[in-house]
């Protein structure tokens, strides 16, 4: 089976190589048939990569420990989910997974556009195939996941030796989010290849106008949505597994995932300037180039050992390959830009400081500033070593210092920007749009400050959050009222109608609302408390308004581990609220331990309890408890953000509205049961 996988990869490599070469030749010679053949080679490569990936999954599921990658990342007693997820748990497998996701994207892009954009698609196909080719080279020559274990005999012949059992997956990875976080993040990273390919193709082919932006809008949003989801899932995972009470530590690998998200967010906003006003064409092209380059850089940082990180894979020589690819891509982009830049002339100029354009401009400016600061901080050890000869790293204080004010300014823009008019905004409309929300926000601040909320940034964050949330709410209400006045439908139906009529705009507002919730959650970190104590059964500790009582301390066997587990009763204001079971697992396969945090989560705060191991002197369990206010808002915000992205991806429901009289007559009897089922739902 491992041979089958290897051959599939080699064939895929040949196909992708052919797709690049034939694609270029076809463009140069304007040969339609050759273009077709290049497409088909690309599609064939997609199928072959799928086969190779399926083979590796099969090897995992059948416990084939003669394959090194399987033996290193799986064991017989591992749960089938983790055998499956072990596919992306190491260097070789995750690179294959990258290739495969790219193959899936390529397949859909080529398939959905097979009869469209005949001048643009040949270029797109070549760019996509080139990226695919690079990853296949890595899969085949540098990090082949199908290498078998074996010994070399005296005569030079190789003997495959299967291990009786594998080493098992790293315990930190044996957590449900292992199954969804990496795919989500990778779908984000890989997904930005599509807008990149279209942008580069449009530039190379001098494809007229804003079409590439229209074509890629959905692709960009899909990638952005997955990237956001991946980052948040990663944060949640770190929170629930690492046991230090936090969700973000400014680790290089975390930063690497944030960088393309920042530029991707900037890109999503600045394309509107190009669509509506024909401005910032150069900027947009470069934003998407940079986003793609940062995706590659992120993948490289995780793997090359350039910067030290808890999450990173071992040091290896893939770094050189990635660096080469980065430079080659940058050179190609620069060359394409220099060659065809005259076609990216702006059609308009900025008029007023208080306008939609300028809010987009500032949004982009600060997003890029944040991206640059994070990149600078992440690569600081590398830069300082090159300049001064000493490696200097900067810690979380640096990142917090820079990104918190930037984040708050962005939050402010989130509220203000969408409601400013294009070109110029009148004072009257400012007052109408922002009067109430601003007053309510300031009132929140005025109430919160005497109540003891003294942290400056947190206070600003709450004020802005109320302000932004209200501007969004008012925007929905205003539109819905108009619809209600015209049609007589209920306000909720009107909101739904309004949203579906312009999904991009209102989906965007929903995303903004999700961002507000996330900011509220982040601000909670200013009020974290924690306490560590050695406890014997029956004793208790006080933290905030909670009393934590250790009831028992037991051993509990699991499928592939033994856990030491504390049973803890949580009392709030003297009332028993629930039992928590923090534990420490020891895995059979590799003797490693894993911490399972136990969390009592409410909208107000999380009570986060860690069993930190036995005390070295007395052998009694040490319990570390944290109170982390408002953390749940972050995850809620994430859900809202993903929902909003989903809404924005839907097509507008304009036609339905035009035919409304007809559909209403037909739909009237059918409408009756609806309230009945609704009320049933409510009872459930």
């Amino acid at each position: 089976m491992d041979l089958f996988g290897s051959y599939a990869l080699i064939l895929a490599l040949v196909c992708a190589g052919y797709a690049v070469a034939a694609g270029i030749a076809a463009i140069a010679g304007r040969k339609i048939l050759l273009t077709k053949s290049a497409y088909q080679a690309s599609l064939a490569a997609c199928v072959l990569i799928t086969l190779a990936t399926a083979t590796l999954v099969f090897l995992f599921l059948t416990d084939n420990f003669s394959v090194a990658y399987v033996a290193n990342h799986s064991s017989r007693d591992q749960h089938v989910f983790y055998k499956f997820a072990a596919l992306w748990s190491g260097q070789e497998g995750s690179l294959l997974f990258w290739s495969w996701l790219l193959a899936v994207y390529v397949f859909f892009v080529l398939w959905t556009n097979r009869n469209r954009h005949p001048e643009l698609m040949p270029y797109v196909a070549v760019v996509l195939a080139s990226v695919q080719l690079f990853f296949l080279i890595l899969n085949v020559f540098v990090a082949n996941p199908f290498q078998v274990l074996g010994t070399v005999a005296a005569d030079g012949s190789r003997q495959v030796v299967a291990q009786p059992d594998g080493r098992g997956l790293n315990p930190l990875l044996q957590y449900p989010e292992m199954v969804i976080h990496p795919p989500a993040l990778y779908l984000g990273y890989v997904g930005f290849t599509v807008p990149f390919a279209f942008a580069l193709a449009a530039l190379l082919g001098r494809y007229p106008g804003e079409k590439w932006i229209h074509i890629t809008r959905r692709w960009t949003m899909i990638a952005w949505g997955f990237q956001s989801l991946g980052i948040l899932l990663g944060a949640h995972w770190a929170y629930a597994v690492l046991g230090w009470g936090g969700y973000w530590g400014w680790d290089p690998v975390e930063n690497a995932s944030l960088l393309p998200w920042l530029t991707g967010t900037a890109f999503l906003h600045s394309v509107m300037m190009q669509e509506k006003r024909g401005m910032m064409k150069v900027w947009n092209v470069w934003l998407v180039f940079i986003t793609f380059l940062l995706c590659i850089l992120g993948t490289m940082l995780t793997r090359s050992g350039v910067v030290s990180s808890v999450h990173a894979f071992a040091q290896s020589d893939v770094g050189h390959w990635f660096l080469g690819f980065l430079l080659l891509t940058l050179a190609t982009c620069t060359w394409a830009y220099l060659k065809n830049r005259d076609y990216l002339k702006s059609e308009n100029q900025l008029d007023s400081l208080i306008s939609r354009e300028s809010s987009f401009l500032f949004n982009n400016l600060v997003l890029l500033a944040a991206c640059f600061a994070v990149l600078w901080g992440t690569l600081f050890p590398v830069i300082s070593e090159a300049v001064q000869g000493t490696k200097i790293s900067v810690g979380p204080p640096f990142f917090n210092k820079v990104t918190i004010p930037i984040g708050l300014f962005l939050l402010f823009l989130t509220g203000v920007g969408p409601l400013l008019a294009w070109r110029k905004t009148s004072l009257e409309s400012l007052r109408r749009n922002f009067g109430w929300p601003l007053a309510a926000g300031l009132l929140t601040g005025a109430v919160a400050y005497p109540l003891g909320l003294r942290d400056f940034y947190a206070l600003v964050c709450f004020v802005l959050s109320v302000f932004v949330a209200l501007t969004i709410l008012l925007e929905f209400l205003r539109g819905a009222r108009v619809i209600r006045a015209r049609t007589g439908m209920s306000i909720l139906r009107a909101v739904e109608h309004l949203t579906m009529r312009n999904t991009r705009r209102y989906g965007g507002y929903i995303v903004h609302f999700g961002i507000v919730l996330i900011f509220i959650g982040l601000a909670g970190a200013a009020f974290n408390q924690d306490k560590q104590m050695e406890m014997t059964p029956g004793t208790h500790m006080e933290l905030g308004r909670y009393t934590i009582r250790l009831q028992t301390f037991t051993q509990r066997p699991g499928q592939n581990y033994v856990a030491e587990r504390a049973t803890i009763e949580v009392l709030r204001d003297g009332q028993s609220v629930m039992l928590l079971y923090p534990e420490r697992r020891r895995y059979h396969a590799n003797g490693m331990t894993g911490t399972m945090v136990s969390i009592y989560s409410t909208l107000r705060e999380d009570l986060y309890v860690v069993y930190a191991g036995p005390s070295p002197e007395t052998g009694q369990p040490v319990i570390h408890a944290y109170i982390n206010p408002l953390v749940k808002w972050i995850w809620l915000g994430g859900v809202v953000l993903v929902l909003g992205t989903g809404v924005a991806l839907l097509p507008n429901r304009q036609q339905a509205l035009a035919f409304r009289p007809v559909s209403e007559r037909a739909g009237q009897p059918a409408l009756q049961p609806v309230p009945a089922t609704r009320s049933q739902d409510a009872h459930d």
């Binding site: 064991s75 074996g150 010994t151 790293n170 046991g243 900025l350 008029d351 590799n590 003797g591």
Partner: protein, 153 residues
Amino acid sequence: MKNGKGKFLLAGTIILGTTVWLGWVGVTESKTYYYTIAELETLRGAQAQRRLRVAGDVQPGSIERYRGRVDFVLEQEGRTLPVSYVGQNPLPDTFVDRAQALVEGRLAPDGRFIADHVQAKCASKYEAVPNPSTTPGSSASSPATSYTSGPSE
């Protein structure tokens, strides 16, 4: 139009200027110098007072846990460094014998390293070389926990 551009330039400069200033303050507050254990011994005066970051492998059997403190020894290229971890957070699960660890803190006058932050990566975990004959040229530096320590336990 010229005037209009000036406004944007000014606003942009203010934003970027603030960012740069914040960044500079942030760097001076949190910069940590990265040294090898061998280099630590050569540090003099003010250099030794800085916040430092040192990497190494945890010497097998050297971890001793006390109340509020964990002592261990880091090894790197044949040199050793005694470390006392006094941080608030529990040490990560990956912190075991032979793990690659990264410690942050300051050097005490007696040559002991007082760390308030420890990151650890189990050397055998992410990438290991189970059989050197199949993967030639791979790093020999990974002291992988051998297979036998697994299921037999």
